[in-house]
Amino acid sequence: MTAMKMRIGICEDDPFTLATLDASLVAKEVEVVFAETSAPNALEKFSELTPHAVLIDLHLGSGPTGLDLAKSLRGISPSVGLVFLTSFESPRLLDRNFEELPAGSQYLNKQELASVDQILHALQNSVSKNRKSTFVESSDVAGLTNRQLEVLEMIANGKSNQQIAKQLALSAKAVEGISLRIAKRLGTKNDQSGNQRIQMAKAYLRSIGRFDN
């Protein structure tokens, strides 16, 4: 780290997490030039204040996602460092059409975060000359096809095969087949360890950070 203070921006839709991140980074001698809860505000502040790096939550409510924001930021400044802080095991769980993360961006899972230093380290990495993307697709759920992901999401939302079939304009038999393949992929078994559908829902919720064991 040079003598110059690192200037960063934060975009996180939960105000409390935002305030905590802001405060803890300020305490680590980082200059936080903006801390915003929505993508449009962050974009606006970014063009004005041009920080070295931006810490972004992937999920930002019902509008643009953190990925949309990241792409726009790189469009303005190709050298900006990007750090994603998220509870999603894979960006595909947020956007099924996701292709790849912007080059060199850092991916931090909220559940695996142990200290502020990890965030600091990621921010420093994101702006270093030979930056490398830290994202490795490892989630079981992320290995599913788009259709399988879609069906799994509906199962986790409590929909029956019949309801899913109706909504996706498929036959109930096709949905049953898809759900069997999902179960095989995820390795959930229909035995004493519990209802298979619930196991599948749990696997999904775990991967988006909504469920602990």
Binding site: A19, V26, A27, E44
Partner: protein
């Protein structure tokens, strides 16, 4: 759930007009009213000179009742399956009830003849046809009236429960609104103090903020998050039952119940004497119920017992005197028990129906009153509004204030000016607390703001737009889809005569699976199309 309901239970005419609705031919009340009475009279009147064994009558009755029940069941299933909203005209209700009764009378007589090895036990089945049709009329029509009254009562009661909860929530809400105003007032006063008073002790800002959060904001947000617990029970059949056995039964209804015995009376005592027997018992029962009602008033368990006891006694004595009931052996007891059961059973059902009717009317009056007091009529809307304010208090307001405290603890220096800035912003936030409901224009503005910098949204002809939360939802969803699936960065929403056109500059319609957007569309209107746009992109056309 809204508490606005136009349906009301206003009069006897209303009841008559609803006799042919789904409450008609209710299998439940067929079991409660028609089955026991038919069964009972087979026991009472079996051992008379024409039939050697009353068990013939029991079996014959069971057989004919099963056939009738099957017919009723089939009608009901077809009705619900194919024409749920169909209402039988009053005349057909009368005709169907009478024919079902007549058919049952005829079937019972035939069955008895069969069972007693072909010996003709009755003077003829034409008497059974006439008696049965009158019994059917009384049984089916009173059963469907009772069923209808119960269902009305249930609806009114649920409506009342909602209205009461709504009323409570409304009162709680206006109190919280006052607290919000007071909170803002405190903040504004403190800002003034920070500005004016040079000698304010250092750190005062933060201790004020801590106090504000701990003593005001947290409890207020907590109170807004909490729901109203309903202390009012909804429909309770048991409650009606207890009330019913505590009041003397209606004289008219109880007297008419004995007409259910008409087929047996005619069969055993002959046509004219049978009618005479039945009518004389009915008249005596009517007089007894009237007199007891006068003496004991509306609420009396003794009155109930006395009416049933005296009516049973009168019925059995009159029948014995006419020779319809055999006084010898145990049959007199069978007669007493069965007639007692008939009166008790039907008087409870009728009283319950009557109480349901009265309560439903009283409930309706309270509902009307509550509805006039309440400003908005959607419980969901009020609850949503409170949740939004609570979220804002708990989330944004509290977090922003606490972030000052956290920063200070983390070693950053908080000066007076920063505190003033932050507090002023909080005061502004409280001003813009979510309003009761957003107009279409406000909702569209929210959508535009949400996508600012990502997708440019333009609105044309908003003055022609219908004011509807659904339209706002459709637009929000359409912009999302245009950006996410259509990869558009420009969306034009135009309201034209009777249609809404949403055009974008994206990649055009893809064959993706239908999402939430189309679900909203399909639930509101089937009349929509997604087409390729004239200059590329796609165009969503929705009929309004």
């Amino acid at each position: 759930m809204t508490i606005d309901s136009k349906a009301g239970l206003s009069s006897f005419q209303d009841l008559i007009s609803k006799l042919g609705s789904q409450s008609f031919l209710s299998p439940k009340f067929l079991a409660v009213l028609v089955v026991p009475s038919a069964f009972i009279f087979s026991v009472t009147l079996g051992e008379v000179d024409t039939a050697n064994d009353y068990w013939f009558w029991v079996v014959a009755n069971l057989f004919s009742i099963s056939v009738i029940a099957l017919i009723v069941f089939v009608i009901k299933v077809l009705w619900i399956r194919f024409a749920e909203n169909f209402i039988f005209p009053l005349l057909s209700v009368v005709a169907i009830s009478a024919s079902l009764g007549a058919f049952k009378g005829w079937l019972t007589a035939i069955a008895v003849i069969e069972l007693s090895s072909g010996r003709l036990l009755l003077s003829g089945t034409s008497e059974n046809l006439i008696g049965g049709s009158i019994a059917g009329l009384v049984g089916f029509i009173s059963a469907s009236a009772a069923t209808y009254l119960f269902s009305r009562f249930k609806k009114e009661r649920n409506l009342l429960v909602t209205a009461r909860v709504f009323d409570q929530l409304n009162q709680k809400n206006s109190l919280e609104q006052k607290q919000l105003v007071a909170l803002k007032q405190r903040i504004v006063e403190f800002i003034e103090k920070l500005r004016d008073d040079e000698k304010l002790a250092p750190g005062m800002e933060l201790s004020f903020i801590r106090q504000l959060v701990d003593e005001t904001i947290r409890p207020l947000a907590g109170s807004m998050f909490s729901q109203i617990e309903s202390r009012y029970s909804s429909f309770a059949l048991r409650e009606l039952f207890v009330k019913a056995i505590k009041s003397p039964p209606s004289a008219v209804l109880l007297a008419s119940v004995y007409l259910l015995a008409l087929p047996s009376q005619i069969a055993f005592a002959g046509f004219w004497l049978g009618i005479f027997n039945c009518l004389s018992v009915s008249v005596v029962v009517f007089v007894i119920a009237k007199v007891v009602g006068w003496v004991f008033g509306d609420e009396s368990f003794i009155g109930f017992g006395l009416v049933i006891g005296l009516s049973t006694l009168a019925g059995v004595v009159l029948n014995a005197w006419q020779g319809v009931v055999n006084v010898e052996g145990g049959f007199i007891w069978a007669a007493i028990i069965s007639v007692l059961f008939l009166f008790a059973n039907s008087s409870i059902v009728f009283s319950m129906a009557k109480i349901a009717y009265n309560e439903a009317r009283a409930n309706r009056a309270e509902i009307t009153e509550l509805r006039e007091e309440l400003q908005i009529n959607s419980l969901a809307l009020l609850a949503k509004q409170r949740r939004e304010i609570a979220n804002q208090l708990h989330g944004e307001v509290q977090s922003r204030l606490m972030s000052l405290v956290i920063k200070e603890e983390a070693g950053a220096k908080i000066d007076k000016q920063l505190a003033i800035n932050e507090l002023s912003q909080i005061a502004n936030l409280l001003d813009s607390a979510p309003k009761s409901s957003k107009s279409l224009a406000e909702s569209i503005d929210d959508t535009i703001a949400k996508w600012r910098g990502f997708a440019e949204v333009e609105v044309v002809g908003l003055d022609q737009a219908p004011e509807s939360p659904v339209v706002a939802e459709i637009i929000d969803e359409a912009v999302y889809n245009a950006f996410r699936h259509g990869r558009a960065n420009r969306v034009i929403i135009s309201f034209q005569s009777n249609q809404l056109v949403i055009a974008d500059n994206g990649i055009g319609p893809t064959n993706g699976s239908p999402g939430i957007g189309t679900q909203v569309l399909n639930s509101e209107t089937k009349d929509w199309k997604l087409l390729p746009g004239e200059d590329g992109g796609s165009e969503l056309r929705i009929a309004l």
